[in-house]
Symmetry: C5
């Protein structure tokens, strides 16, 4: 997993049917407590908001965190760091 901080949300009206309702967040990756200026876009699955530190799962494993495990999604926020 990657640790990161949610920097913003991304709105996409025209998208794959199976992604309708997904909340896309832009996450800046944190390594060893330091911001990396590397970013990815993940779908939220735990009710996380902008500014929160989260754990992101990538790859095909990410889909297991979604209601629709057949959605074409490769990154999901799976936890909020205390």
């Amino acid at each position: 997993m990657l640790k990161g901080i949610i920097r913003g949300n991304i709105v996409s009206t025209r998208k794959q049917e199976s992604l309708v309702g997904s909340k896309f967040m832009e996450v800046e990756i944190i390594e060893n407590g330091e911001l990396t200026k590397k970013y990815l876009v993940a779908v939220d699955s735990v009710g996380a908001g902008i500014g929160e530190t989260v754990l992101v799962t990538t790859g095909s494993s990410a889909r297991l965190a979604l209601h629709n495990t057949n959605a074409p999604c490769d990154a999901v926020i799976v936890g909020i760091v205390d």
Copy 2:
């Protein structure tokens, strides 16, 4: 997912049978609103065009956005950013 801007299309006449009809786009990745000069090639699934900002899913999850989920494809444009 990755956010990016479509920079061009790529034409391939001789290709895998299952990719016939696929529209290949070269996408420049955007992180935190800045161009990265990093690129990948993705198949369009949402009718996106050159110059549009899009979301790209990579890896095996990408195939779930295609009509033929057995096509040897590892990156698909799954949404257009508003």
Copy 3:
């Protein structure tokens, strides 16, 4: 796999149901005996602790090391290096 040293643990109270009980560790990757200042977060499956040198499996293969192979996890500590 990646070789690395466990630098710390990460606590996440609000997380995906299927990750409850997982021990998240931040691991610094080692290449050729040298620290790389690159980090990832992995779930422990072998009772490893902070400061130990470990092997980490990433991607969908990682889940095969977990009791719940359907957990949305993409990195697992699978061995402790002697």
Copy 4:
């Protein structure tokens, strides 16, 4: 997918049984029309030769382009760019 140019072929006599007959090519990745000096090794599936510009699919999706979809292969040349 990645766009690249085939730079050479790699000969491996002792290899996994299921890879016998595979043509391994070393491909230099091209991004936005520029050579990147980044390389990977891919199995050819479309009759491509040295010097040709090609599309490469990576990850588990790559295997879908092979006759033997159980071969331990993570990168396949799936198209020749016109």
Copy 5:
């Protein structure tokens, strides 16, 4: 796949049950005939030794080269380069 040279072996006594008997090798990646100073750890499946140039398959495809295709392994040496 990646081309690389085997630099050493890694011993792990405490590891996942399904990895017992696996030979872990540290491999330095070679691109275009040049050493990259980038390394990964792969399980040998072809009887390769230190100093040999090999092909490494990564990701979920790697497991197809193992006797136990359910082992939590993400990189396997699948061929020795002549």
